[in-house]
């Protein structure tokens, strides 16, 4: 009772999200402080903030940049990612810019908001296809090794854009801006009602 497992907690944060699950169940390796500062600089953070703000832009509520989600992403990759995932993520920063060059002959930071959205929509499709294929391959591999007690499923990292998107969603909706301006947040509910009418279209709760 009240003993939710880690995945359940994530699901609550993300409102039932499954997208973050594999991230939260994955491990990260320890890092020293020097590695940390080598990992990201302020340009990275600015870049990640723009990526995040394209994923979750300002609408009737402020966007992800207002919540400094770029900084959050850097912290989480630094502290909670495995070296393999860190590598994928960091290479992803470059890959994202390469894709931008290829499609618009321009760096991501120099794109118009419309171009950024267009690029990230394409990358989102790419990560979805990648994930579907990866999961299928993993299942097939598992079937192939059925009955092999020593079999360990290969730990293939996610697509880099999936990582960015997951971290953007988690970072934004648990930020002050995201939790209080986009979602609803009450620190001290002071009540529990087990039976209230559900009104479709109500904003989700942050916690």
């Amino acid at each position: 009772m009240n003993r939710r497992d880690a995945i359940g907690r994530v699901a609550l944060i993300m409102g039932g999200a499954v997208i973050g699950a594999d991230f939260f169940l994955s491990g990260c390796k320890p890092n020293t402080a020097t590695q940390v500062s080598d990992l990201f600089d302020t340009n990275h953070v600015a870049f990640l903030n723009e990526v995040a703000d394209t994923i979750l832009p300002t609408t009737s509520s402020p966007g992800a940049k207002a919540a400094n989600v770029g900084q959050f992403m850097a912290v989480m990759v630094r502290d909670c990612y495995t070296p393999e995932n860190q590598k994928t993520f960091l290479e992803g920063v470059k890959k994202l810019d390469d894709a931008s060059q290829k499609q618009f002959s321009s760096k991501f930071m120099d794109l118009t908001p419309q171009q950024r959205t267009e690029l990230l929509v394409a990358l989102d499709k790419e990560q979805k296809d990648f994930t579907t294929k990866r999961n299928k391959d993993m299942e097939a591999d598992m079937l192939k090794h059925k009955g092999d007690a020593k079999y360990k499923a290969p730990n293939t990292p996610n697509h880099y854009f999936r990582m960015m998107k997951e971290l953007t969603l988690l970072g934004y909706f648990t930020s002050e801006v995201g939790a209080t301006k986009a979602l609803r947040y009450i620190a001290v509910p002071g009540r529990y009602d087990g039976c209230v009418p559900y009104k479709k279209g109500d904003k989700a709760w942050a916690t």
Binding site: M1, R4, N31, T117, K165, T174, V196, K200, A204
Partner: protein
């Protein structure tokens, strides 16, 4: 610690010593000081003052650097405690890290500990159910362990006594196998929990789904206000320590109460190395303490000693308290000390969905966590090929069904206003395990800790009875779920090591016969009546209720007996 006058025996002499400051130690201190005994409470960890020492209690989600996650270097350095559901960024400072206090796992055992004033009462899951005679008579009826030396009538009033003070929310459900108590208003079941409760009531004999009983002040009484506690505000951030005192902990309740009496001396950073036994007097005279910071060894003396170090550490302390009278451990003439350790089997869950009540949801947060299904197997008679049975948690909840495709304003809108999905239901198993001689703890012959105390060997495992019971839980709950119209029923079993249930018990069990038990019916060591053990170590069997409430009641009862015996000059 200069104020303790450690240089004079007089300054180190008290009426009573309580070893440990958690769930049961707090009660021992409250009861003994309340009767005027000058009491010394020894805690191996640091002090944690109510409210003042809850650093995260009022933090917002966004104030946690990793939004609750434990950084990977910490996770990797602490594989054992990292498996605990409550070891998260907001409460990790209340848990013992693996490297701080090593132990020897002869078999895998996740030993989850809280070394501070208040112990694990700060982070516990707050579920509180009474035992009944179906539990106390279990070993005698089913032929395992030894007979409990007490019955429900011996503890009934003590349950009432501690419930009134601690504050327990619950309904009077009128179920013989889960006796009613002194309850504050219960938290309600939600629609689907209530539906399942009614379905089970009308379709199954002697099976019940009730609102879980928990140590929360749903509506405080004067006695709670007198403790400085106020109504639970449904934050459900309990593991951080509660600024309202909304749930019961030693820190918010028993310890400040004992301090208020003026009779309590609280000494943190005090590792009790052993209990001192005086051959001539034929009784214990005090304890040997190692100051955890200075490593100084200091003796403290008292007429009575309460051992409340938490189940396995109490075993360690008794095993380490050797003398010419007790060469094999304190009060261990029988040789059973450290043996017959048991726990609760939490290794199965079931999830499902329910296609109904779609126009309804919940509001706020439920401190009780939902429903509770008391044990229904082998209660009135033996009916399966395994002994005893299990209680089950049961709860229902809805999630938003978000659409995650794409990026931009539409994605954001979908995430902010995603529709609620169907109701999900979930249950987890809480099974009784059978205490056995070969589930034991012992002192390691070679390895010692930083304070020169032998490390504890732990050799505790599941058995065939547990496997059969687990299978039955999955079958029975699946059948009940099917019968209620739940769909997509997904049982899941795991191989979590014993210990992760955090309900380890036994090792210094109570019993009628000194030849086969360590403690008598008053929790006194059979052969040294001025030493009382009232934490989990005393448990003869485990039943399947969450044990804390029973520890509290046994402690208050034993303290009352101790004072009466002192007044008669018997101890």
């Amino acid at each position: 610690m200069a104020n303790l006058n450690t240089d004079s025996v007089k300054g180190r002499t008290f009426d009573a010593i309580v070893i440990g400051s958690g769930m049961s130690g707090g009660w021992a201190a409250k009861e003994l000081t309340g009767k005027g005994l000058k009491t010394l409470m020894l805690e191996r960890g640091r002090d944690v003052k109510h409210i003042k020492d809850y650093p995260t209690t009022n933090m917002y989600p966004w104030e946690f650097e990793h939004r609750g996650e434990i950084p990977m270097d910490v996770q990797e350095a602490n594989p054992v405690v990292n498996r605990c559901y409550a070891f998260r960024e907001d409460a990790e400072h209340f848990f013992v890290k693996d490297h701080e206090h090593p132990y020897v796992q002869q078999k895998p055992f996740d030993w989850i500990r809280g070394y501070q004033v208040g112990g694990k009462s700060l982070m516990w899951a707050r579920q509180t159910q009474r035992w009944s005679d179906f539990d106390f008579e279990g070993p005698a009826r089913d032929g395992f362990a030894v007979d409990w030396p007490i019955r429900y009538k011996d503890i009934d009033l003590w349950y009432s006594y501690v419930e009134k003070f601690a504050g327990i929310a619950g309904n009077r459900d009128g179920i013989p196998e889960l006796p009613d108590g002194e309850f504050l208003p219960a938290y309600p079941l939600n629609d689907v929990e209530d539906y399942f409760s009614k379905h089970v009531k009308s379709n199954y004999k002697n099976r019940h789904v009730i609102s879980a009983r928990c140590a929360h002040l749903s509506k405080p009484n004067q006695i709670h206000i007198d403790q400085g506690r106020t109504q639970c505000e449904n934050r459900i951030l309990c593991q951080r320590g509660c600024p309202f005192g909304g749930y019961f902990s030693a820190n918010s309740s028993t310890i400040p109460w004992a301090l208020k009496s003026g009779n309590l001396t609280l000494r943190p950073f005090s590792v009790v190395q052993s209990i001192i036994y005086d051959d001539k007097l034929g009784k214990a005279t005090g304890v040997r303490v190692i100051d955890s910071k200075t490593k100084d060894v200091i003796e403290y003396y008292a007429r009575i000693i309460f051992v409340n170090a938490a189940a396995l550490n109490t075993n360690l302390l008794l095993l380490n308290s050797t003398s010419s009278r007790f060469p094999n451990g304190f009060g261990n003439d029988s040789g059973v000390l450290g043996k017959y350790v048991a726990f609760h089997n939490y290794s199965a869950h079931i999830g499902a969905e329910y296609d109904g009540f779609k126009d309804w949801t919940t509001d706020g947060r439920n401190p009780a966590g939902g429903g509770y299904i008391p044990r229904f197997r082998n209660v009135y008679k033996q009916e399966t090929d395994f002994l005893r049975g299990y209680a089950s948690g049961f709860s229902a909840y809805r999630f938003r069904q978000h659409k995650y495709d794409g990026v931009g304003a539409t994605l954001k809108e979908n995430l902010v206003k995603g529709d609620l999905g169907p109701w999900y239901v979930g249950s987890h198993m809480m099974g009784e395990t059978i205490p056995k001689e070969n589930n034991f703890v012992s002192l390691d012959a070679k390895q010692k800790d930083e304070w020169g105390v032998p490390l504890l060997n732990i050799s505790v495992d599941y058995d065939d009875n547990d496997e059969k019971m687990k299978k039955d839980y999955v079958e029975q709950l699946s059948e009940m779920f099917t019968s209620a119209g739940f769909t997509n029923i997904r049982p899941s079993t795991n191989h979590q090591a014993p210990g992760l249930d955090i309900h380890e018990m036994g090792g210094a069990r109570m019993g009628n016969d000194p030849k086969t038990s360590v403690l008598n019916k008053w929790n006194q060591v059979h052969t040294c009546k001025n030493v009382f053990v009232t934490d989990g170590a005393c448990m003869t069997s485990t039943s399947c209720q969450n044990p804390s409430l029973t520890y509290m009641a046994l402690t208050a009862r034993a303290a009352d007996h101790a004072i009466r015996e002192m007044n008669k000059g018997n101890i």
